[in-house]
């Protein structure tokens, strides 16, 4: 039955959601649950299947993912499907054909434990008990997850839509093509435009909010508003083969667990009497949104492209090898189905940075649909999602260099075959490198820099020119290849040299902004928890909170002048922080906002010899009195006007030196020359971001700091709260009042030798922290204790972990365990402070 109310076409609405696939339907459903009214849902196709990717989705959810956002939103989504009774727990098995994959399955067991998902490792014979028609000869084992589910995404969409019709009077218009998304382009100080209306072939609707939930078409709609959602429609091939008696006899849509043949990038999923064979192994086949035909032009649905059998043949051979019965079954239906890929594999959710009230709910697959619908609805309603921290999916995360077809296509081509791949946590992209580099690039290359990319910014991770230090400190490669991958003992050597002498670190990827104007300081104070209205020349480290009091950012702000405040933040958060400022800044002309990231380069000089090195280049008093911690002083180095900022993220004394981009190389050269007799070495980001930081227990945005935790829990609350209002103040005061039931702590791994007698070096994060009985530790909010950062501490010769623990387990000396690659390692709580130099004597020297 048609669920379209019999009314005229509206001329205005509070919110127009474009796209009636799983995502659009879930967004309207969740907005209705939050009490929103006056909603309109549009789709250019018919209902209930408008012809997007939802209509041909494979509809299964494997709940285990190494990525926290994806895992928890997958679980959240699976539960919503279950609540609607539109889901069947079929179970699922990931089978391994290679030893490397067996190790990966151990890693998946670890992630399953972290998220509290039941999982078992199976022998080939045990796999066969679940899936009698599998060829046990070609597999080494399997990872079985009984809560893998198959969902009815179309019916779920209909149910959510009906709920919104009932609760909020949602108006639905199928077969309605959006022709334009109209924005108010009156120039505003924050540089943003505002969405005002949606023009369709049935009329124009003035709208306060517009949500783009158009799946593979999302960017076509974004273009209409002159903005950009970085996603590309990509082919996922699948074929339906059958019928087969053994499947038909189950009399079920799905009677056998789904099998993911991980090493061939292929899955087999029962679909009534047939088997659906899907592949991520074929060559990447990407399309432009404008190549997608209309519903009328398409032979099947618009997103079911003609099957290209040559691309699938290899998969067929492998599928038959795994399940011989597939070979004699008929291929009844086969498509090149379109799905959405993004440059970094994460969805695109949130408000468009350049267009106010235009929201993206794109690049979401069926497995995350309801959860992400909830995320977007909550984000619109509360200002930030409550269900989970979604910074990894935030559409504001992208830099301009990431918003081009060239970039997305290259990244999608490279990542497509990693869909089932074994991806190392530190894995680097091969293509689209050197998009943004620092002023020192030629010098770094000469020094043999191994570059790691932070979004689009290149940073040396270590320098092969420092290989001699490896010998000096008697260091070795790691025994286990996985631990050694994307790593070098040079990074340990650079760390030890910095602690012994000093190191020069390129921090040019810092994102630097300035607020200026009569309202700059007042606005800066509105953003920050800590007081920004401090004397000129002082800096303030401060969290930025969302309205609920969780972390939005942590960064440094400097009072440059009476009416000028500088903001320095990390490269991974630049886009989000830039957007956050623009979103909140007053548009009355009292504040201007400038991005200086490519005008100011930053060098970090740290180590016991740092004052001696710098002392040769300036007359500035570099003592703790003359250049106190947190001070921001103008100096001239090698004839260049610079600023010295006394701070340290590595635990040794020294400075961040802010240098004009164009003149930066000469400053670099001068420092290196001055350091020649003081053991100064160029030092990579491995020391800055990880080993130096973790020895000191410094928290990192996106790791320890997320919207799910507040400053009290993170141990970053100051004794007093400033008088001025700021975002999240009310919630922050309440959190202080309530006290914290958890603490952010460092743990030391007491013994890192695995069952095969090999030393292991934990990395990655998200591994569970367990009690001595091997039980998960979960707080009253349902937050599990897990590794937020793991790393080797060269100065201690130990592996360190960071994470949140309930107060009773956070006491220094408490014995716990952590899991890594499905093995348990004993560890001891250090406490909320530093494992190395807890009294900060080195900082004060």
């Amino acid at each position: 039955m048609s669920d379209i109310p019999n009314s005229g076409f509206p001329t205005s609405a509070k919110c127009v959601v474009i796209g009636a696939g799983i995502v659009g339907n879930c967004v309207v459903g969740h907005l209705a649950r939050l009490g929103w009214k006056d909603l309109v849902l549009l789709d250019k196709g018919p209902l209930p299947n408008p012809g997007g990717s939802t209509g041909h989705a494979s509809n299964f959810i494997f709940p285990v993912d190494h990525n926290k956002e994806m895992a928890l939103l997958g679980e959240q989504s699976a539960n919503q499907y279950r609540d609607m009774d539109l889901s069947v727990d079929s179970g699922g098995i990931e089978v391994a054909r290679t030893q490397e994959r067996m190790v990966e399955l151990q890693r998946r067991m670890t992630s399953a434990k972290a998220w509290g998902i039941e999982a078992h490792l199976l022998t080939p014979a045990e796999v066969k008990e679940h899936v009698p028609f599998i060829n046990g000869e070609v597999i080494l084992g399997g990872f079985y997850c009984p809560t893998v589910s198959v969902v009815d995404s179309l019916e779920t969409g209909t149910t959510m839509r009906k709920e919104a019709i009932d609760k909020a009077g949602l108006q639905v218009f199928a077969n309605t093509e959006v022709l334009d998304v109209i924005t108010d382009d009156t120039p505003r100080p924050n540089g943003r435009r505002k969405v005002t209306a949606v023009e369709t072939d049935k009329g124009t609707i003035e709208a306060e909010y517009v949500v783009i939930a158009c799946g593979v078409w999302s960017n076509r709609i974004a273009y209409m508003a002159d903005t950009y959602i970085p996603l590309v429609p990509a082919v996922h091939q699948m074929a339906d083969v059958g019928p087969m008696d053994i499947l038909a006899e189950t009399n079920n849509e799905i009677g056998y667990p789904i099998v993911r043949d991980m090493d061939t990038f292929c899955y087999e999923r029962q679909s009534a009497g047939s088997m659906e064979v899907g592949s991520y192994a074929h060559r990447p086949i990407l399309h432009h949104p404008d190549e997608i035909p209309s519903n009328a032009e398409a032979a099947l649905s618009p997103t079911e492209f003609p099957f290209t059998p040559d691309d699938f043949d290899q998969q067929m051979e492998e599928a038959i090898e795994l399940m011989d019965m597939l070979g004699d079954a008929e291929i009844k239906y086969a498509i090149n189905g379109l799905l959405s890929l993004t440059p970094d594999g994460m969805p695109c959710l949130g408000e468009m940075p350049d267009v106010e009230n235009l929201w993206s709910a794109a690049a979401v697959w069926v497995k995350e649909g309801p959860g992400m619908g909830q995320v977007v609805a909550e984000w619109m309603h509360y200002g930030y999602p409550r269900v989970i921290d979604s910074h990894g999916a935030d559409v504001a995360r992208f830099y301009d260099e990431e918003k081009s077809d060239e970039h997305i296509w290259a990244r999608a081509e490279e990542s497509f075959n990693k869909t089932y791949g074994i991806v190392h946590p530190a894995e680097q992209w091969a293509d689209r490198r050197m998009l943004v580099d620092s002023p020192y690039r030629s010098r770094q290359e000469a020094l043999g820099a191994e570059f790691f990319q932070a979004r689009v910014w290149e940073r040396p991770q270590w320098y092969t020119s420092n290989a001699d230090l490896v010998e000096r400190y008697g260091l070795e490669e790691r025994k286990v290849e996985w631990d050694n991958r994307w790593w070098s003992p040079i990074t340990v050597a650079e760390h030890l040299n910095l602690r012994e002498n000093c190191g020069l670190i390129d921090l040019s990827a810092f994102q630097i902004y300035e607020l200026e104007g009569s309202g700059a300081v007042e606005f800066a104070d509105y953003l920050a928890v800590n007081k920004i209205d401090v004397p000129v020349g002082r800096s303030v480290y401060t969290p930025w909170l969302n309205a609920d009091g969780g972390f939005h950012s942590d960064l440094t702000m400097m009072r440059m002048a009476e009416d000028r405040v500088r903001i320095v933040t990390g490269v991974f958060d630049g886009g989000r922080d830039d957007f956050w400022v623009r979103k909140h800044m007053p548009n009355d002309g009292s504040v201007t906002f400038t991005n200086l990231s490519k005008e100011i380069s930053t060098l970090g000089l740290w180590g016991p010899n740092a004052p001696a090195v710098l002392g040769q280049l300036t007359d500035q008093d570099l003592s703790q009195d003359g250049s106190p911690y947190g001070s921001y002083l103008p100096v001239t180095i090698a004839g260049v006007e610079c600023h010295l900022f006394r701070i340290s993220y590595v635990g040794d004394t020294g400075w961040e030196i802010y240098v004009p981009w164009d003149q930066a190389p000469s400053v670099f050269d001068a420092i290196m020359k001055a350091g020649e007799d003081h053991g100064l070495r160029v030092t990579g980001g491995g020391v800055y971001s990880l080993s130096g930081r973790i020895e000191k227990g410094y928290r990192l945005m996106g790791a320890e700091l997320e919207s799910e935790y507040n400053p009290v829990e993170a141990g970053l609350a100051r004794p007093k709260v400033k008088a001025a209002d700021f975002i999240g103040k009310e919630a922050y005061l309440a959190a202080r009042e309530a006290g914290s039931e958890v603490q952010c702590v460092t743990l030391i791994v007491d013994d890192n030798v695995d069952s095969q007698g090999r030393q292991r070096f934990m990395q990655g994060g998200n591994e569970p922290i367990l009690d001595l009985d091997g039980n998960r530790i979960v707080d009253s909010h349902g937050r599990a204790s897990r590794v937020t950062t793991a790393g080797y501490a060269p100065s201690l010769g130990k592996n360190l972990l960071m994470g949140y623990l309930p107060n009773e387990l956070a006491e220094p000396g408490t014995k716990l365990q952590s899991m890594y690659m499905n093995e348990l390692y004993p560890c001891t709580v250090v406490g909320p402070g530093s494992a190395f130099d807890p009294d900060d004597t080195r900082l004060k020297s």
């Binding site: 039955m1 048609s2 379209i4 018919p46 209902l47 199928a174 077969n175 009328a296």
Partner: protein
């Protein structure tokens, strides 16, 4: 002269022949030529007279032992021989199965082009025509270079309409035929169904995938029977094995032309539409008011066919008392 090839069955001109005469009458006028007809396998005066009512001045009749029943070889040979001895400017048949077959047979013998399923023909030194492709969803403008224009007009392109009545003369045509032409003669004829058939039914109740199952067609059968009509179906339904192919309406099935086509649960894919588009009226029943069939119909009911069809059946019964 324009020569129209007449199809006949059981002593009567078939509808297709009348369409060809109607189309031919207009074409002959455009050519400024006489309209004549070829009656093969019969010299029945009644058929000659019937052709006259459509404007044929002369009917060339041809009878022979090997023309005792339909046979494409023999029929094609007769048309080819008529071209050779009567020298018409053009020969036209209706684009029915037989019409196209006879014309192609003749064309093969004459080594001339044959343009099937024309919608519009422009005579001249070089003939050009618009013909249907893809069963009618696409048109092709084409031109021929030939001594004689061999054509068929698309089935149901025009409605048969008598006109320009003539007292047609019958002229016997002596064809050179022998036993070798009987090679493809009809040996047997089997009647499978008595009464109204899908191509001739005044009412067709069509069902698509939306019917849901083989059993779901029972409701359609009931309504069709009540209205003296037949059940038709889409290609999807035949492929699912719910109905025999002989019920399929479409480009590769039967082309229907009923007074009213009740299309239920049919989205209106091109393959189906081209078989149904000659219907005089279309009434669509669909849950999707934007379905192609609904958009193209004269009337539509937005409903689940399984609710509304039984209701229609009941209403018909009630009114009939």
């Amino acid at each position: 002269m324009l020569l129209v090839v007449l199809e006949h069955e059981r002593g009567e001109l078939v509808e297709a022949a009348c369409e060809a005469l109607t189309f031919g009458r207009v074409l002959a006028a455009k050519m400024g030529e006489d309209l004549e007809a070829a009656l093969i396998g019969s010299d029945d005066d009644a058929l000659v007279a019937a052709a006259g009512e459509y404007g044929a001045e002369t009917v060339h009749t041809c009878t022979h032992d090997v023309l005792s029943d339909y046979g494409p070889d023999a029929y094609g040979a007769v048309v080819a021989q008529m071209v050779e001895s009567l020298s018409p400017e053009a020969v036209l048949a209706c684009g029915s199965d037989r019409g196209n077959e006879i014309m192609a047979q003749a064309a093969a013998r004459l080594g001339s082009p044959f343009v099937a399923n024309c919608k519009d023909v422009t005579p001249g030194d070089a003939w050009s025509m618009t013909r249907v492709q893809w069963g009618g969803s696409l048109l092709e403008d084409t031109a021929i270079d030939a001594d004689v224009a061999l054509l068929s007009c698309g089935l149901h392109t025009v409605a048969a309409e008598p006109g320009g009545a003539q007292n047609a003369d019958a002229e016997e045509f002596e064809a050179a035929l022998d036993e070798s032409h009987a090679i493809t003669i009809v040996k047997d004829r089997v009647v499978q169904e008595a009464g109204v058939t899908l191509p001739t039914a005044p009412v067709v109740v069509g069902g698509g995938r939306g019917v849901g199952s083989e059993d779901g067609f029972a409701q359609l059968e009931a309504l069709a029977e009540l209205l003296g009509g037949r059940v038709g179906c889409s290609r999807a339904v035949t492929n699912l094995g719910w109905r025999p192919h002989s019920d399929q309406v479409g480009q590769t099935g039967t082309r229907i032309a009923p007074e009213v086509y009740i299309a239920s649960g049919i989205s209106g894919a091109i393959q189906h539409w081209v078989g149904a588009m000659a219907s005089k009226h279309i009434l669509a029943i669909n849950t999707d008011r934007e379905a192609n069939m609904v958009v193209k119909a004269d009337w539509a009911v937005i409903a689940d066919l399984h609710e509304v069809i039984p209701a229609i059946t009941e209403e018909v019964k009630r009114r009939r008392g």
